[in-house]
């Protein structure tokens, strides 16, 4: 009984661990590109988390079969899947913007490592003291 | 003219005063003239307010309603009126003195100092006349802010630090202790008005009363309760007319008056609930008073010595407010007046000596009384009066405070009060004696031509007042509605 509960919870635990890893990379990595990869990991984990919560064992995808207009077998909850889709769209927008900003940073600083960028900022400040 | 209008004019006069002094800043004659005229007009208005109040005219002015349950309003009651009138009268005496002092010292910005003195006194008087705790807090904080530039008047890094101590201690206490006390009071009573019989009477239990009373006593830090007294020595960087009248008399006494008002009109009957805080605060005030006198003895600079003496002497008002019997409260109110007159006179002498001889140390005063007899006669009278030595005015404070304590079954307090008075006599009495009877110095005056009548007249009048106040006790007790005697 207890082991069944643990088994049922295992996918969620794995997904949360993956999201946590993503959060660590997104906030901690000195490489700006890796930060964006961390963000992508969080979004993927979130989409999986949502979709997993709506899955029925042995059920179909919630897509109407062509021509018939009714489901023949049980199907997974479509609500979560539509949430996950909406979420991925907004996530994609953010990731694309982040990549574009990284391109601009590289043009301005010639670097995409945050410590090199901080170094350049400090040099600027030393040149123009406040 | 209605009493309300008179009160409004009284409250607004200091603003006009400051503006008039500012407008005439570059013409010394006009500036000092305006300063003196406005100060005397202000004092006359205060006397008129008292007169009308005696004839039964209840004045009330409401200017705004910043809180749904509290107006920004003023309503004179006898104790506040007495203190305000005393401040205004002393300010009138201080005005010519300030004129003479700043001229003799060739001050850089006398107009600014005079305007700020007027504003500080005006805000203190407004605090005295406030109708509720909120208005009191507002005027009290404004007074602190207005008197701060006086501390920083001479400029420079050391003096800036003193100014930071002044503002830091007083504002921190008022925001961190007084404001929560007020908010908590509001939580109990849902309003903040000063009410005869006490706003909190019957509304709070012993623990709340203890905590609240402690918050009030330390929050009103200008009363100089001992760990929060450091602002006053710091304020002695101000020029003498400001350090004496504004900081040692007006600011300090406003804190004491606040405590009296809190005790009488906020706590009222609830004072008896504070069974721990009351005796503890009395011991702290009077024990601190003795300690402050010892510190004063160790100071050779005259102004810091007078500052510590002030801490020691205003503690009697705090003790009176905590004893909280009608007679003790009367004694505390009377002491505000008597101490104010005496301390202002002491500073008048100290300022005149500084201006004429350049001497600022107690040890340098020896024998100076033989060269400046009037000034030092006044100094001696005032010193004895503020130390509660009979037969001068201050003796009444000692007497009635002890009587009040006895009626509250706190006879031990009388012993502490006596100890405090003896200690404070030790700080000032021998000083006056040495000055009067020591060997006369040969050539004391560095600026003999500066001895104008402006500088000397207030000194003499102040000394005479210390003596004359002795006869004010009966009318004052009638005005305050206290039956003295057995």
């Amino acid at each position: 009984m207890v082991s069944a509960q643990i088994l049922a919870g295992a996918p969620y635990a794995l997904i949360l661990a993956f999201a946590l890893l993503g959060a660590l990379i997104a906030t901690g990595s000195p490489n700006l590109l890796k930060r964006v990869i961390g963000v992508v990991m969080i979004w993927i984990a979130l989409a999986l988390f949502l979709a997993a919560s709506g899955v029925l064992a042995g059920a179909e995808a919630p897509i109407l079969p062509r021509g018939e207009g009714v489901f023949g077998r049980p199907f997974s909850n479509p609500l979560q899947q539509s949430f996950a889709r909406g979420l991925l769209i907004s996530a994609a927008a953010g990731v694309v913007l982040a990549l574009a900003i990284i391109v601009r940073i590289r043009e301005a600083y010639g670097a995409i490592e945050s410590d090199e960028i901080d170094e350049a900022d400090r040099a600027d400040e030393a040149e123009h003291p406040r | 003219m209605s009493a309300d209008l008179l009160l409004l004019i009284f409250l607004l006069t200091p603003a006009a005063h400051a503006m008039a002094v500012g407008a005439t800043a570059h013409v010394p004659v006009l500036r000092d003239g305006a300063n003196i005229i406005f100060a005397f007009a202000y004092a006359s208005l205060a006397m008129l307010l008292i007169h009308w109040h005696q004839n039964g005219a209840q004045a009330f002015v409401a200017l705004a309603r910043p809180l749904p349950t509290a107006e920004f309003s003023f309503a004179p009651e006898p104790i506040g009126l007495t203190a305000a009138a005393a401040f205004a009268a002393l300010a009138a005496l201080n005005a010519p003195f300030a004129g003479g002092f700043f001229r003799a010292m060739e001050d850089r910005a006398p107009a600014r100092a005079q305007a700020l003195i007027a504003l500080s006194v005006g805000l203190a008087c407004a605090a005295c006349l406030s109708a509720n705790l909120f208005t009191f807090l507002l005027c009290y904080q404004a007074m602190i802010v207005a008197s701060f530039p006086l501390v920083a008047h001479y400029g420079g890094p050391e003096i800036r630090r003193a100014g930071q101590v002044y503002l830091g201690v007083l504002l921190t206490a008022s925001v961190a202790l007084l404001l929560p006390a007020m908010a908590w009071t509001h939580g109990f009573a849902n309003r903040l008005d000063f009410v005869a019989g006490g706003l909190l009477a019957g509304r709070i239990g012993p623990i709340e009363a203890d905590v609240l009373l402690t918050l009030f006593a330390f929050g009103l830090a200008t009363a100089g309760l001992i760990p929060l007294h450091l602002w006053l020595p710091a304020a002695m960087r101000a020029p003498s007319p400001a350090a004496g009248l504004v900081h040692c008399v007006v600011v300090c006494s406003t804190g004491a008056l606040g405590l009296i008002k809190v005790s009488l009109l906020i706590f009222g009957g609830a004072m008896s609930q504070a069974m721990i805080a009351r005796p503890a605060l009395i011991c702290l005030a009077l024990g601190g008073s003795v300690l402050a006198s010892f510190i004063a003895l160790s100071k050779d600079e005259l102004k810091p010595r007078l500052a510590y003496a002030t801490i020691a002497q205003v503690a009697l008002c705090t003790a009176g407010a905590m004893i909280a019997t009608p007679v003790a409260l009367f004694a505390a109110s009377f002491h505000i007046v008597a101490h104010g007159v005496g301390k202002a006179s002491l500073f008048f002498t100290a300022g005149a000596v500084e201006a004429l001889t350049g001497r600022t140390r107690a040890s340098e005063l020896t024998g100076l009384g033989r060269r400046m007899p009037w000034a030092f006669a006044a100094f001696a009278l005032a010193a004895l009066s503020v130390s509660c030595v009979p037969p001068l005015a201050g003796a009444w404070s000692l007497l009635w405070l002890s009587a009040g304590a006895a009626r509250a079954d706190m006879i031990w307090v009388a012993g502490l009060v006596l100890a405090s008075c003896i200690a404070s006599f030790a700080t000032l009495g021998p000083l006056a004696g040495k000055a009067l009877f020591g060997p006369a110095p040969a050539h004391p005056f560095v600026r003999p031509d500066a001895a104008s009548v402006l500088l000397i007249l207030p000194v003499a009048v102040g000394g005479a007042l210390s003596l004359g106040l002795l006869f004010l006790i009966d009318p004052l007790s009638q005005f305050l509605g206290v039956r003295l005697g057995p």
Binding site: L32, V39, L46, F49, I101 | P68, A183
Partner: protein
């Protein structure tokens, strides 16, 4: 005619407040010149403010607006209730006053080609903020939250041409924003799994009936943590420091007062959900957690303000310190506490507008930012501007006779009532620290002589905003009845009774 217009606006208010800036965003991005795009932004902010004020004046209970006629469980519903109408009026007015000031700086600081895009991005942020306030379900809230970060990231990135440090700041907004909105979405997903509902009302109803609401409590806590970033709660306010002190100066003026309001109101909404639906013990846990976060934020941000060397950073830290006080009020989770929090929020908005506008006006053209030295002698160089800064600082301190006193006062009352002693201590301590940093600014403005090479502050376009915000602060300090009633009404429109 005008009556028909009023009725139309009134009936469609929940969608109009989102549509107005959305349309402005489209118009601005195709506008031929920066001036035209800026006009679209200002017009949309005016429309937002007007609609919100109309909705506030005619408010008579909650108004639902099913998009496309699809009602709540299946379709998307936008809603206006007391809380959102309060926030909408604030962001409308602050967005309008702030963006009016932006024109001069937009033209001075931004390339001609990018001016329309910049105005469009600002309109997009406004859209997201309005949407966050009217969203009726958790996933729409998430959508608008993520929208805000993307738009603000784009807007900040436009500053790279002027100051290259805007680039990393913009990336920080996007990345940290993504983490925050993902945290919110995880929380929402957990609530959805626990209740089967994303609609706020439905979730509340299901939770009230549920026996075990522990999972949902965890979800709600995660959502609050995600929103706390938008609400500028320290230590989650790092994004704002970069975006508002290194991005285009005018964007901070236009949006610095808008975002904390939207975030805080959203926090309030989730706190209300927790208060009405969770078991008392769990609800208390959420409250204590939020109050600790708020208390920490108020003190930490105040200390940072003490150390700030740049006027724009100082403005961010001051806003964050007040946001901490707002959170403490929300944590009291009573009508009185929330009213105090909302009043403090309007105070935050007004003072943030003043400080961000003043900072923008003082920002040097040579990309050196606005070091504190630009304040030296401001009292003589620009008396009006320095007066506005003084009013803002006084209200931040909570000095009597400013609106700040009344808001601190009502917050203190509420924390006493809720026995959140540490919250009360944090509010008082932040006031005390404010005295110190405000004192330093006063000293610079009024006692120091200006440095020789000081440029004139570019404050002409900011004048209306500065004038209106400063006079409101003073006026409400003398008579606080009206805003206090409004805040109480807004707080009272939600259910704080618990189950």
């Amino acid at each position: 005619m005008s009556e028909a217009l009023f009725d139309f606006v009134r009936a469609h208010a929940p969608v109009l407040v989102v549509l107005a800036p959305l349309i402005a965003m489209a118009l601005a991005s195709f506008a031929p010149s920066g001036r035209g795009a800026w006009a679209a932004l200002v017009a949309s902010a005016a429309a937002l403010a007007g609609t919100a004020i109309l909705a506030a004046l005619t408010y008579d209970g909650r108004q639902s607006y099913p998009l496309g006629g699809w009602a709540a469980p299946l379709g998307i519903e936008l809603r206006i209730d007391g809380l959102s109408v309060y926030g909408l009026v604030l962001i409308g007015v602050m967005g309008l006053l702030g963006s009016i000031g932006g024109l001069g700086l937009l033209r001075a600081e931004t390339d001609r080609a990018r001016q329309p895009l910049a105005a469009a991005a600002a309109a997009a942020v406004l859209t997201g903020a309005a949407g966050l306030l009217v969203a009726g379900d958790l996933f729409v809230m998430f959508g608008f939250l993520q929208w805000i970060w993307i738009a603000l990231g784009a807007l900040t990135a436009i500053g790279v041409d002027h100051d290259r440090r805007a680039g990393p700041a913009a990336l920080n907004v996007v990345v940290a924003g993504a983490v925050a909105s993902a945290l919110f979405a995880f929380g929402a997903a957990i609530v959805f799994m626990a209740t089967g509902a994303v609609d706020l009302d439905q979730a509340s109803a299901v939770l009230s009936a549920a026996e075990d609401s522990r999972a949902a409590a965890a979800g709600l806590a995660m959502m609050i943590a995600g929103l706390a970033m938008a609400a500028l709660l320290a230590p989650l306010h790092g994004w704002a420091v970069g975006a508002f002190s290194r991005g285009p100066a005018w964007s901070a003026a236009a949006l610095g007062a808008v975002l904390p309001v939207a975030g805080a109101i959203a926090v309030g909404r989730i706190v209300a959900l927790a208060a009405s639906a969770l078991a008392p013990g769990l609800q208390h846990g959420v409250s204590v957690g939020l109050s600790l976060l708020g208390a920490f934020g108020a003190i930490a941000a105040s200390l940072q303000a003490l150390a700030a060397r740049d006027v724009r950073r100082l403005a961010v830290y001051i806003a964050a310190a007040q946001a901490g006080c707002v959170a403490v009020g929300f944590a009291a989770a009573s009508a009185g506490g929330v009213a105090g929090a909302l009043f403090q929020l309007s105070n935050l908005a007004a003072s943030a507008l003043l400080l961000f506008c003043a900072a923008a006006a003082l920002t040097r053209a040579d990309s050196a930012g606005a070091p504190l030295v630009v304040l030296d002698g401001l009292g003589r160089r620009a008396p009006f501007l320095s007066l506005a800064v003084s009013v803002a600082l006084l209200t931040v301190i909570g000095a009597p006779m400013t609106a700040g006193f009344l808001s601190r006062w009502s917050l203190l009352q509420a924390t006493f009532e809720a026995r959140l002693w540490w919250g009360a201590a944090a509010i008082i301590l932040s006031s005390l620290i404010a005295i110190v940093y405000a004192g330093r600014v006063f000293e610079r403005m009024y006692l120091r002589a200006p440095a020789p090479d000081m440029a004139r502050p570019r404050s002409a376009w900011f004048a209306p905003g500065l004038l209106i915000a400063a006079s409101l602060i003073i006026f409400f300090g003398f008579d606080g009845e009206a805003p206090l009633r409004a805040a109480e009404g807004a707080a009272g429109s939600l259910n704080w009774g618990g189950r």
